[in-house]
Symmetry: D2
Subunit: 142 residues, 4 copies
């Protein structure tokens, strides 16, 4: 599983003294961006080629809250891939002790800039091949 | 279904030119707070009585993106209630034409300020009765 | 001074138990948008006419922190207007007792969508006349 | 000047296609936290000793907008120090070409957790000595 490490900022916390739950979904986004970069592409470049992958659905289970200034490790993998969409899975853990803070999923459509569906395999075969490789690697290492 | 109306702010948007998906979860929070207030209690007061209802899980399905300056109506109901937790359901619609932007759920534990579970029915029977009434009304109107 | 009322949300707070300071700047934005709307135009429509007013500078003095669930009143006026830019002033007060939470300023350039300066008086005289009226009213009522 | 590097996230952008201006103030916070850590203390630990430094004022001048996925370098120094407060200065630059995106200042009071002023030099001389060293180093390198 690809992993990226972040630190919980003061502005991430709320008066419950923990990271606000909506911010996990923001950091899922950071993790998938860094995953794509680490594997050799860039979501920013993909956008320049008239490709986007808007979030169709997201879910999170919160286990133990992350706290201010804590380093958290966000794991990310591609759990499903079709010609028109993909699903990613995430785990957020404490860097210090590996405890699970949260886990979740996001489902993404493949679209152009105008948010119209794009049959990725046909229209952008290199991008599709890229996601296919990540999906296969994700499946193997599971 | 209880409804509250909000307007999508500039700071809510992202470069996809729509409201960023994580913000729906923030506005679910606004909706449930206003629901509680509209029914005669206040989450702020509940917190003063050493009660909290942290989010245990959240899920959202995104249908059609909300755009800048659009008025959105967030519907909210209690879909499940037990002695230790509850589930709420949400719908986000365009105020103008009623189109569904997103729907979702959140699950909440009942805890004290230290985030320890509280058997609500026993410890704060009035609060439990309040949520029970909302749950019953939510079920009837469905 | 034009005034708009907002309620401090849970997601606005941080572990200092007050509204996070950066959020005042977000709500300045809400106030100026509502000010423009209340006076008969809409910033969303202005954008459709290839006009934008990016923030060139912002400053805030924080007096007394706003807390969760508190209703705050944000006052807004146009304090300076030139052909190429304008300055707005803000006051954030407690709705309950009028106490000052913060005051601030923002300076805006007049540009097109590509963020190139636009001589507003020449290029969009109606918009300039609109801001001029607001500026004059702001000056009179001071 | 102490420097920390961050990457502009998708959720940081707005429909103007650049980083939303309020987020600079969030990242000033990140920079000062990392500055304190790099110099051998931790703001999280300071808070545990009943110390806080709430923001009394903030100002930013925006020069050139930062864009999605860009790496930005935030420089940070202590520009003024008194027994009861301090001022910090920031510069946000493009990592790639050093261009200035924004510069700003923040003023902080020294308080306890209850947000009451604390005469730092008397009450927490080690903390005061720490900030004094940073201030002196900041002045020398200027």
């Amino acid at each position: 599983m690809f992993e990226t490490t972040l630190r919980v900022q003061y502005f991430d916390t709320d008066k419950m003294m923990v990271m606000h739950h909506a911010n996990y979904i923001r950091y899922f986004e950071t993790a998938r961006t860094e995953y794509i970069r680490a594997e050799g592409m860039s979501y920013a470049d993909m956008e320049k080629e008239d490709f986007q992958m808007p979030v169709l659905a997201v879910e999170v289970e919160f286990k133990e809250p992350a706290v201010y200034d804590e380093e958290i490790v966000i794991g990310c993998r591609i759990s499903k891939l079709s010609h028109a969409s993909m699903e990613m899975e995430y785990e957020v853990r404490s860097k210090e002790n590996g405890k699970l803070h949260a886990k979740g999923k996001s489902r993404h459509g493949f679209t152009n800039r105008a948010l119209r569906p794009v049959p990725l395999k046909k229209k952008q075969p290199e991008m599709y091949a890229f996601f296919k490789r990540l999906h296969e690697e994700s499946s193997e290492e599971k």
